[in-house]
Amino acid sequence: MKKILIIFLVPQLIFAELVLEITQGSDDPFVIALLDFDGQDEITNQINTIVNNDLNRTGEFKIIKKDKLLSSPKSEEEINFNDFKLLNIDYIVIGSLESENEFNLSASYQIFSVLSKKKIRTSKVLGIPNKIKQLAHYISDGIYEEITGLQGVASTKILYVSELKENNESLYQLIVADADGVNEQILLKSFEPIISPAWSPDSKEVAYVSFETGIAKVYIQNIANGDRRVAIQNSKQISSPAWSPNGNFLSLTMYQDGNAEIYILNLKNNNLTRLTNHYSIDTESSWSPDGSSIMFTSGRSGSPQLYEINLRKFNSKPQRITFEGNYNAKGSYLKNGDGIIFVHRSSDDFKIALKYFNENFIRPLTESKLDESPSISPNGNVIIYAVTENGENLLSGLTLSGARFRLPAKKGEVREPAWSGFLR
């Protein structure tokens, strides 16, 4: 516990205002009372559950259960703010399902701040009955956004590869699902490996490497209509395509020189440019949010470490950016470019770690044994990764604010999750 410094105390200074400095704090979430949505039970029950789960998963909220509340108002007039203040609740959410005919649903919700005793948001979400999940995700995102100021990711999607072992064969599937892991849709099925799925910046297309024809081919597939085209193919291995932020380039790892090197493919004219040239492995490239540099994993120092290469500087050399431990790989940039997320080995455990560029240490984020392939949510606050537990692969998530969650278990192994951008 450090003492606090006071600056600008003397009133005769230029600024009349007193400036005080705060240096301590612990961790705790927004406390919200999430009242049940009013309306048809079968639908509202679903909405209540999904919104509750979505908000819990963000790690930013502590939701007070209905039975712990002193009152459960159904409208603005019925709210007695003191009932909520006594329980230290910060926000109240009240909602109802409005037009409930066969084809249309509309849910409206209101958020009240207990501290200012005011309504801070009224929103209406329109949907159709068989898309109740989407409707609920939109509501969650609205609540999240209003209270935290960050855009919500409940209505975004994740992409991953699953491998099902049947008899002596493996069935590979490329699957896209809602951010909570449900509502899966299969984009591709193959008995040959599918690897390295990646979203295009506008989240309308995905790129992946498929060996269905026997050789490595990078496909770009439209999510909405399933159309796909071959971006590049090679008799040698290709892996980890990554889209540039403007969507015009694809960086790839290619093995045509005998060892792995990073190449950049221009999607407009199919020109291929080699980016790295080293006798050790260079792989797993990713683009900085402004597109000015590419980070990749390289073994040039003897152990896998992350390097960054500036694309805007002529003849620039890769700069090493991780120095902690003897294994740092599969890096991706935080959305604001402040730092990176990567896989770090400490003793024999592979953990997801965070490093800010202005800090000279790393922050391990997970405690499990075998974590891999971290992917960052578009709001930069959640990381999804593959984890191996008891020989099984599954998808797990964590938020920077400290919450952890697990996506529903799948049949077979799941790996290489990739988080889409905002879809709204």
């Binding site: 007193l18 005080l20 705060i22 704090g25 612990s26 202005n358 920077l400 400290g402």
Partner: protein
């Protein structure tokens, strides 16, 4: 011939329109141009300076005026000729110098006790906000944000404004949340009204974890 003259008139008007357009674009008709920089200058923070200067001068004036009056009252009772001598005397008088010194010592005492009080109250404010502040996890080091609070005489926080963002919304949120949580400073009723208006009506809080 008629067609030609029409043509001439038309081209003349066309010339006029184009010329005026070009002149307009060259700011030919813009006479207020010189006023603008002056306007933008006066919008500066100077207002605050002025207020401050008046405030700091006020106590000096109040202290000095009665003393001068007293000396004059004395001299007026005496003869006019003696007046100038008197003034000279008083000017070099030890008692007057002592008085001046005394006033200054007095002021210093007042100032130091005031400073002490400001310190005390500041510490109380810091402690209250600090105990309400929850620093978010996994934020980078070196984030600093400034909030401006307006507090009324009863200690209730009337408004909170983020005047300098840290660039990290989670960090800014946590600071705002802390202040909202505090809601009011219960010790404000003990603050004298001078001290309140000078120092504690509007305060800036810097959140700077180190």
């Amino acid at each position: 011939m008629e067609i030609k003259s029409d043509y001439l008139i038309a081209s003349f008007f066309s010339f006029l329109i184009h010329a005026s357009l070009i002149l307009f674009l060259m700011d030919f008709f813009y006479s207020e141009k010189q006023i603008r920089p002056v306007l933008s200058k006066t919008v500066d923070v100077n207002l605050i300076f002025e207020e401050e200067i008046i405030k700091t001068k006020e106590p000096l004036a109040v202290n000095e005026v009665p003393i001068i009056k007293n000396t004059f009252n004395k001299t007026i009772d005496n003869k006019i000729i003696e007046l100038s001598q008197d003034i000279e005397k008083i000017g070099s008088d030890e008692t007057f110098i002592n008085l001046n010194e005394l006033i200054q010592i007095d002021k210093a005492v007042i100032a130091s006790s005031e400073e002490k009080e400001i310190n005390q109250i500041s510490n109380m404010i810091i402690n209250m906000i600090e105990s309400a502040w929850v620093k978010p996890k996994n934020i980078q080091e070196g984030l600093i944000c400034d909030l401006r609070l307006a507090v009324n005489k009863n200690g209730r926080i009337v408004s909170v404004n983020l005047i300098k963002s840290s660039g990290n919304i989670r960090f800014d949120n946590s600071a705002i949340k802390a202040v909202y949580r505090v809601e009011s400073f219960n010790f404000y009723n003990k603050i004298s009204s001078n001290l309140y208006t000078d120092n504690f009506k509007k305060i800036v809080i810097t959140f700077n974890p180190s």
